[in-house]
Symmetry: C2
Subunit: 347 residues, 2 copies
Amino acid sequence: MTEERDGAPIARLRPATMADIAAELGISRQLVSLALRGLPGASEETRLRVQETAQRLAYNPHTGARSLRQATNRHVGVVFTPAHATEPDIVESLYPAAEADGYQILLSPVTGSRTAQHAVRELLGFRCAGLVVIGSDAGPDQLIDIAQRFAVPIVAVGSGPANPHYDVVRSAGEIGVADCVRHLAGLGHTSLCYVDTPAMPPAADRLRGFVDTIDALGLPEDVLVVTEGYTEEAGAIAAQRLLRRAELPTAVVMSNDQAALGLVLALARASVRVPADVSVTGYDDSRVARIPSLDLTSSRQDARTMGEQAIVALLRRLRSVAAAPQEWVIPTELVIRSSTASPRVAA
Amino acid sequence: MTEERDGAPIARLRPATMADIAAELGISRQLVSLALRGLPGASEETRLRVQETAQRLAYNPHTGARSLRQATNRHVGVVFTPAHATEPDIVESLYPAAEADGYQILLSPVTGSRTAQHAVRELLGFRCAGLVVIGSDAGPDQLIDIAQRFAVPIVAVGSGPANPHYDVVRSAGEIGVADCVRHLAGLGHTSLCYVDTPAMPPAADRLRGFVDTIDALGLPEDVLVVTEGYTEEAGAIAAQRLLRRAELPTAVVMSNDQAALGLVLALARASVRVPADVSVTGYDDSRVARIPSLDLTSSRQDARTMGEQAIVALLRRLRSVAAAPQEWVIPTELVIRSSTASPRVAA
DNA sequence: TTGTACGCGTTATCAA
DNA sequence: TTGATAACGCGTACAA
């Protein structure tokens, strides 16, 4: 913005340091540190001049140096799966929650070529104070091992059994599915089929919700197990199997939104209409559920609350080492859309 | 694993350092450093004992300290949007490419509450040697500003005009769409509609591919512009508009897979069959295209090659500062599936 | 309000 | 093959 040509700020080879700012102003480096962090010890005028110079020199604090100096650095490491449908929402919600307490998030993905072990090692290399593990393709044993060997607090988000070694944040899968079942029963459905996808980490909770509720209602227990994956292709397979039956159920309860999408598409190809012929429910209320022409009734897994709770749980353990890990179950909310209706309205 | 109880490896408060390993073995810190990095200067026996001890103490190098000491640290910063459909695939492909040259990837997301500016500042705090910006909601001006102010090489992946300040890696959108058009024309279609979603960063290239090809074929130029978003909801809106017409086109060319999904679902609700009544093509060949019951013909945007090329381009600039930024256009490949067929086969 | 001195964990240079 | 010593950028006592 300045018109001066002398400073020649082009192509700086070395990023500006506090020492550069200090030299520029003829003051000490420590004073710059105080001024930048707004601590008492620097005059108001000094602070302003320091900030102006920092801006002009494009000063950016060296995160590594900072974490080296500080006894306890404020990094939270996050292990996640980028390609997953619902995890990015949780990841996003971690940022505001962590920043509110002055913590910085560090992301480390699990991919085909990177195991959870890789991801954790990398995060610990940055001396993260705690770890949030989303999805946890890493089994409980592995997480326990990490928690103990590196003495780092861990929060597992999404699934996994409650245990004394790390915190677990999960949605109330059993209640969410139960809500779907009761909603359908309330519409008059008596022939409900649940599609179980056991490969999905939190599958067990959701299946239990279906079985318990259908038993309580005295309805026939119709569970279709698909072992091949748990997303759209699983839904498509479920549809093929259902279409081979002599008679379709009037309602299908799916274990997640993506599987529901696969099912609905496959049914549409076979000219089965939703909800006219079959009502369908999902789980997660992910962006898939909100696709206008799918418009899926779904039990909402509150990603934002789950992310926030993960940070809260982690900070709690960080503050008092003695705090015992807990299981935090986040309530779900049934979101009713147009994929469900009374049976036989168009038959 | 050891049966000894004396060492008491429980609840280590401070992560092991090189000094700890050195003390354990009665040697100097420097020798540990050489041994761990496999550099000449340590005897074979020493190296083995150091590695064994490092393992036992769960030693993990302090990334911050390392990047503080090294003049040029081997970090590549990546700006991306977690919720996006195709970006995670690109992100995943960056890892093997970067690791092959000894570079470490650092992720920084753009979300509702975090702008590209935030993301870049954070990455530069880790003193990343270069930046890969995927999607680039940040405009060209902003990227140019960053590249100049911080003197850091940048590669923009996915879109953006070629320019002398940073490298651009993008897929050949114009050719990919042209392939779809020619495929449909080859099937006998003469009434093709293109759905343009200008909010999508690389929209211009793809639109040009349609217009040029349809003109070359001497077919009528039918372009439907949807300004509301560019994913499923945009597809649904396009479907509504098409259904209001007196006559449907026999084929619809969509600007991306997600929009195609939205369109197909909306058409299914209106009992329009794909491909019997209308053929549909997508773009990206993302996982959406492979949903069994959608089975979308789509021009494949090779995420792996794009990620690899991004790293190659960045390392090239890192090695020779003088290298002029280029535009790297990655070829597409038409993947033919069952969403396209000859017109009127079932009419 | 400002300056001096030191240490964090690592790598690099030199001499032994 | 090994060991002293310095340096990277920053934060924090403590002294002036």
